[in-house]
């Protein structure tokens, strides 16, 4: 039956001839594992195509939905974590394998005449793989991908003469936006796969034309072995190892969430993917008019060196021990790129510029005599500002207040002058770079001046004497009734969560945002304990552990619960709380992306992963064990068969 069908097909299409042409090849010196690198690249490419198409069933290429559609795929689609994880790690491994394959070809001297075209196609394949990597990251429209795209396209824009045209072509306009995403999408999912497949075809045909280059010494070349099944078997083994490695990476090192793209979040430090770090680092050495040398010259030079290699090195000798100059150049080339990559990886990413002394600017903050009126009157008003602005939540002064910050008394204040205090209130980091005290840039000049009058007054009085400011509590804001307060809290709970509750933020980056925006009241790491005079509880609620009514083991529910408070703020129950939760979302003091990051961090503090798998299909670790068991069983069975049938 089968042979009938094959005969029927062969009469109409040259199936046997094609199979023979594909599999029948003699390999000089026999099959080897070191030759499997090239086919491993091809296997990973097929895997990328498969996992990429799978992602297309869920991915939406718009700036509004790209990030969330991938989050959805990863957390709520059965085996979505596997599909995305394989694609993410496959992309990284593919670059590694291409580079290893090229290194192998270089050491074996396989680029030499008559295999120049095979080498050139290989260089093109490397470049295409890099472009794949570059166009893939922004499709996520997360912080990492957005900034890689922004900086990458800007770099292209620095090319002389045609730079602007190239940049506009890449972005679909002057700025990064929807049209950029659409372009990257079309290139990444249509143009590049087609190009890469065509290049593979040319590369493999060119390779087959002259066959495998084989060992470099004559004795090794005297024997030969067949491609099928000897080399194919080794290719299958190394391909399987790569697949197993990728599954392991997808299971144990799932790609982190870097948060939805957010141009306003200046606390995010963009840094390129590892395979572009060498360019990123090289760019730092070329500045000013030399910049295009770094952005365009260096990459062009590297590519040119690879292209001219087979035409410059025309020595037919292939033994690496007998061509020291070529090997030394290769080592230098690899060492320079590797070294730059490591330096780039270790560099903190933030400005490393030397400190140049510029006149301290804060001195201009208050031109003399602007706001100072009557010092005593000011101090009286200042004591109210001290309470209403939340200073007393952290600082003990005049016998009351919190303990998170230093006590403000004659002892601690006497060495400080007016300007120092103004600077401290406006920009606390100017004196203490690591302080958790938030900058009070929202206070008016008058309020700051009053506050300073009050503090200077404290400096002049003995710390034990609660003299002047003690009258303040009676003048505190009119106490609201307890019923009114609980209605307020009720109101918050009825309000809806904002968009941030449905975005998976970056917990790692959220930690930094939390430190900047939240820890001054909720305590470092959300541990609470910050005094809140006038509130029923007396302290700001701890977030670690968090109120059990807000907690939920389900990440989505948990995020919605806390989101209402971050979006709309809330006022704690009590006669006149000194501190209340600002409406970070409603006032736009934080973007939705930033809020999503902070929420992911608060969830993590309480042991809940914001990127928690809701519908994994199968638990990743279980899947890994199952795969490992299958491979192990096959390994044992084939080992047994080998022994029994005496197969070498």
């Amino acid at each position: 039956m089968m042979s009938h069908m094959l005969k029927w097909i062969n009469e109409r299409w040259p199936l046997d001839a094609v199979i023979r042409a594909t599999l029948e090849e003699d390999i000089v010196g026999g099959s080897r594992y070191v030759y499997t690198l090239g086919s491993a690249v091809f296997i990973v490419f097929v895997l990328q195509a498969a996992s990429g198409v799978m992602q297309l069933f869920f991915y939406v290429p718009t700036v509004d939905h790209a990030y969330d559609s991938i989050s959805f795929l990863r957390t709520r689609v059965p085996f979505g974590w596997l599909i995305h994880g394989l694609h993410y790690w496959g992309a990284n491994i593919m670059v590694v394998l291409v580079v290893l394959h090229m290194a192998r070809v270089f050491i074996w001297g396989a680029y030499k005449k008559p295999r120049e075209l095979t080498w050139l196609m290989g260089v093109t394949l490397l470049l295409t793989t890099m472009v794949f990597s570059f166009t893939g990251a922004p499709l996520h429209w997360d912080q990492r991908g957005y900034w890689a795209g922004e900086v990458g396209t800007s770099i292209a824009g620095t090319a002389p003469v045609v730079g602007d045209l190239i940049k506009r072509f890449l972005r679909g306009g002057q700025e990064m936006g929807q049209l950029t995403l659409s372009r990257f999408f079309a290139v990444h999912t249509m143009i590049l796969p087609a190009s890469l497949a065509a290049l593979f075809g040319i590369h493999i045909t060119a390779m087959r034309r002259f066959g495998s280059v084989g060992p470099w010494n004559e004795t090794g070349r005297s024997t030969s072995g067949p491609f099928w099944p000897d080399q194919v078997y080794k290719d299958a083994v190394s391909g399987t190892l790569v697949l197993f490695l990728l599954i392991g990476l997808a299971v144990f090192l799932p790609p982190s969430y870097s948060g939805k793209a957010d141009v306003l979040d200046t606390s995010y430090v963009p840094k390129p993917e590892w395979n572009f770090l060498f360019l990123y680092q090289a760019l730092k050495y070329f500045q000013g008019v030399l910049e295009p040398v770094g952005t365009v010259g260096v990459p062009t030079l590297l590519v040119l060196l690879m292209i001219i290699l087979p035409f410059v090195d025309r020595n037919p000798q292939r033994d690496p021990f007998k061509r020291p100059i070529a090997m030394l150049c290769g080592l230098l080339f690899a060492g320079a790129i590797g070294g730059l990559t490591i330096i780039g990886y270790l560099s903190p990413g933030v400005a490393e510029a030397p400190v140049i002394s510029v006149g301290k600017t804060s001195g201009q903050a208050q031109p003399a005599g602007t706001a100072v009126t009557d010092r005593e009157e000011g101090a009286r008003r200042g004591s109210q500002v001290f309470k209403s602005s939340g200073c007393s939540g952290c600082h003990r002064a005049g016998g009351e207040g919190g303990t998170i910050g230093p006590e403000l008394s004659a002892t601690t204040l006497s060495a400080r002058d007016r300007q120092w205090l103004i600077d401290q209130i406006r920009t606390p980091k100017s004196h203490f770079p690591n302080t958790i005290m938030p900058p009070y840039s929202g206070l008016s000049g008058q309020e700051v001046s009053d506050l300073v009058d009050y503090l200077l007054g404290l400096a002049g009085t003995a710390s034990a004497s609660p003299a002047a400011p003690s009258q303040a509590p009676e003048e505190a804001p009119p106490a609201k009734s307890a019923a009114g307060e609980s209605r307020d809290t009720q109101f918050i709970q009825e309000r809806l969560p904002g968009p941030a509750a449905y975005v998976i933020g970056s917990a790692g980056h959220g930690e930094e945002l939390f430190r900047r925006n939240c820890s001054s009241c909720h305590g470092p790491g959300g541990t609470g304990g910050v005094r809140n005079p006038g509130s029923e509880e007396g302290t700001v609620p701890s977030l670690h552990p968090i109120d059990s009514e807000l907690f939920s083991a389900e990440a989505q529910q948990f995020a919605e619960n806390i989101d209402k408070y971050i979006q709309h703020g809330s006022s704690p129950a009590g006669s006149g709380p000194a501190l209340s939760m600002p409406a970070f979302g409603d006032t736009h003091s934080l973007t939705q992306q930033e809020i999503a990051g902070i929420e992911a961090y608060v969830l993590r503090l309480n042991g809940v992963d914001r990127g928690q798998l809701v519908n994994p299909g199968m638990a990743p670790r279980k899947f890994f064990v199952l795969a490992a068991v299958l491979y192990a069983v096959l390994f044992l069975v084939q080992g047994g068969l080998r022994l029994r049938k005496d197969i070498p």
Partner: protein, 164 residues
């Protein structure tokens, strides 16, 4: 010219013309900027009478804008340095080097870009790093204590400031 040669010539001509008829519009599509922005309108940033004098403050404000087929209100940010109650310098938050957003380092009294370590003085001049020009100022006006800006974007990476 023989018939065969003539037919070869004709096939080439048809191929070239067909290629041009489709190729030129297609390439034109990809090279043109479909996402051209209109002239930036005055956006209300907010009351500035509470801002400190002489110290840069980053202020966020909402303005509506059109980007491709999305029309929506976006959050933008600017750096404001108040010289007096009625006079302010407003910087675009975008580094002139490669378009990252810079921050203010109070300790050293300078703007720093986290991407490639460009450093700018309070007045926007380049102190260090790869930035090709000073920080971009935005057109701004203060009316009755409220600051308005024209939120423009500028070409990055070039020595001259050019609105895009």
């Amino acid at each position: 010219m023989q018939r065969r040669g003539f037919l070869k010539w004709l096939v080439s001509c048809l191929a070239v013309i067909n290629g041009l008829i489709l190729g030129i519009p297609f390439i034109g599509t990809l090279l043109s900027s479909a996402a051209t922005r209109g002239k930036a309108a005055w956006s209300r940033v907010g009351a500035v009478d509470r801002l400190p004098l002489g110290v840069p403050v980053e202020v966020r404000f909402q303005s509506s804008g059109t980007e491709a087929y999305f029309h929506r209100s976006d959050l933008n940010s600017v750096w404001i340095i108040m010289h007096s109650r009625g006079d302010a310098t407003v910087f675009s938050p975008v580094c002139t080097h490669l378009g990252c957003h810079f921050t203010w380092n109070q300790q050293h009294g300078r703007f720093e870009c986290p991407c490639h370590a460009s450093v700018f003085a309070l007045d926007g001049t380049v102190l260090y790093g790869p930035a090709p020009r000073r920080l971009d100022t935005l057109p701004a006006k203060i009316e009755k204590g409220v600051l308005y800006v024209e939120y423009e974007r500028f070409q990055v990476g070039t020595p001259e400031k050019k609105v895009i």
